[in-house]
C-alpha cells in the first residue's frame, strides 16, 4: 500500500503515471489564458485537460470553465473514494469527466466518463497548440 498522499503534486505524479500507462502523452502545468492546467494529456488527436485536487471540487470546476474553450475533454481528478450523487449529476450535465483515486486499492477509477466537448473555439485552440509545443513540463 502506498504511503498517505501529502500533496497535490504527489497526486499529479500518480495521475501522470496512470495516464501514461493507458497510452497518453502527458505534460503538466501548461499555461492557458492566464491560468495553469494541472495535466494536459494527448491521445488519438484529442486533448484532455485535467485538474487535480486532493479535495474540494469548487476551484477545479471554476478552472474548467475556461478549459472548455480549448480541450476536447475536460476532467477533474480527485483524491476520494466516493462522490455525492448531486456532484455526479452536475459533472454529467457539464460533460466533464471524473477520475477518483481510491486509497482502498490505490488505483484510479473513471467515476464519470467525459463527453466530447462541443464548445472548443478553434482560434484559441490553435493559440494553445502553438504555445504547447514551446512550454510546460514534459513528463
Amino acid at each position: 500500500m502506498r504511503p498517505a498522499m501529502r500533496s497535490e503534486s504527489q497526486l499529479v505524479e500518480m495521475l501522470v503515471e496512470y495516464l501514461k500507462s493507458t497510452g497518453f502523452e502527458v505534460q503538466t502545468e501548461l499555461p492557458n489564458m492566464g491560468q495553469s492546467v494541472d495535466v494536459v494529456a494527448h491521445k488519438d488527436d484529442r486533448l484532455w485537460f485535467i485538474e487535480a485536487k486532493r479535495k474540494g471540487l469548487g476551484r477545479a470546476l471554476a478552472q474548467c470553465k475556461a478549459h472548455e474553450l480549448v480541450a476536447d475533454y475536460v476532467c477533474i481528478a480527485l483524491l476520494s473514494s466516493t462522490i455525492l450523487d448531486s456532484t455526479r449529476e452536475e459533472l454529467g450535465r457539464l460533460g466533464y469527466g471524473l477520475l477518483l483515486y481510491k486509497v482502498q486499492d490505490c488505483a484510479w477509477h473513471w467515476e464519470v466518463e467525459p463527453r466530447l466537448n462541443g464548445s472548443v473555439w478553434h482560434p484559441q485552440r490553435s493559440v494553445f497548440e502553438r504555445n504547447w509545443t514551446g512550454g510546460g513540463n514534459a513528463d
Partner: protein, 445 residues
Amino acid sequence: MPIEHWMMFGTFAEQKHFAYPSDSSYAGVLVNGNMAAYAPDGIAAFLMERTRNLDYVIDPLTHAFQHDPGAVLDAEGKPKKALLALATEYGELAAQIIGQRPMLPSDLADTGILDDFVDRVLEFQRTYVSSRMSNNPNAKYLGEENACRGPLALIPPYFYLTETSLAEWLPLMKKAAERAVVNKRNGEKLYMSIVVSQGLILGEGQRKDLADQVRQTGCDGFFLWVDNLDENQAGGPELQGLIHLAACLRGSDQRPVVNRHGGYFSVMAAGVAGNHAFSGVMHGPEFGEFRSVVPVGGGIPIARFYIPQLHSRVKYRAALRYLQRKGWLADASTFHSNVCDCRACQEVIGDDANRFTRYGESVSKTVNRRYGPVAMEFPTPETKLRCLRHYLQRKGREYEFCGASTKQRTLDDLESGVAAFESVSGREGVDHLRLWKSVLTTENG
C-alpha cells in the same frame, strides 16, 4: 451636462495614452507629487507637450507620511527616492520622519509647524513643475501665458480619514485648508482631497457632518477617494454612501467634486441618473477605478477585455467564454454589432472575429513558485496596449453617454446588459448592474 473625464499619470511610458483617442478626450490630468519631485523636467515636458490642452493638478501625497514607514521604503530599506525628494520639499518635519516613523497628528499640533508645512506643500505645487516649463524647448511657441501654466487648483495637506482617526486628523486638515484659503493668490483655486475609509461613508449623519466641516473652510472644490471601493463589487450601502457624500460635498452651490478612483457607477452618478453627484471622475490608464490608500501591490498581470455592456474589465478567458457562448464571435460583423465597433476593435478585429485572440495573446515564462518552477503566462506589451486602447475608447463613450443621456436611458442600458449576459455569466457576472440600477433608482426617486 458634460462630465469631466480625468486621468491619473502613472509612468512616463503611459504618456501617449493621454492623447488617446484624441487630444480632447480628457478634461484634466493628476500627477502624483512624488513623480513631480523626482522628475520635474520630465513632468513639465509631459504637461507642455502631451497634455497642454488639459488642466492639471499635483497631488501632494501628504497622506503617505501618516502610514507605516515600511510602505515608503525600497528593497534596501531606504526611503524611496521620489518620496524622499518630496519630503525634502516639505521641510524638516517630513524630511526627518520619512521612512523612520509615521507622521502623527501631534506632530502638527504646533501652529507654526503646521503653517510652515501648509505653505511648503502649496508652494511645491505652485512652482516646482511650472518653473521648469520655461526651460522646455517648446516654451517659445506657447507664449508667456501658456508656457508656465500652473495647476488648476492647489491641494492643501490632507490625510486618510477613518472612523477612528477622523477626530484627530480632520481638525488639522481644516486648519490647513483655512490657512490655504486665506493665503491663496490671485485667481488660485483650492481643492481639498477627501480620502476616507469605507466605514466612514456608511453613516448618513457622519457623511453630512464631514461634508459640512470641509465645505466651511471655503475651499473651491474636492477630490474624493474612498479606500479600495470597487464599484463592481461594492454593496448597496457603500454605493449609496459614495453618492450621498459626493452630493453633500457639492452642496447647493455645486462645487466641483471629482472621484479620484471611479468606474462606470461614478460616471452615471455624475450624470442625470445620479443627479450630478460628481462633476468629474478619474481613473488611470486601464487601472485605478479603485485603489487602496495604503499600496498593496503585487499580483500577476492578466489580460482583461472591457466588456461594454457589463462596464467591467473581465479576464480574457471569461470574456472569450461569454462572447463565444453568445455566438458573437461567429464573424466580424456580428462582433462589431453586438460587442464593440470602437476604433481599437476595428483595428484589432478588422474583418476576422478570430482575431479576438489578440486581446489575450501572452508569452510563457518560467516562474519559481513554492513547489518549484512553473510556466506562467503574461500578456504581451502589444496585448496590453490593445486592451488599453479598447478600454479608453469605451470609457470615452461612457462619459459622453452619461453626460447626455436621460436617466431612464442610463438605467435601461444597465438592464439590457443583464438581459444580454446573465445566461452566459450567471448572476455573479451581472449582479453589479442590478445593484447599480437599484441604488440610482432609490437615491433619486
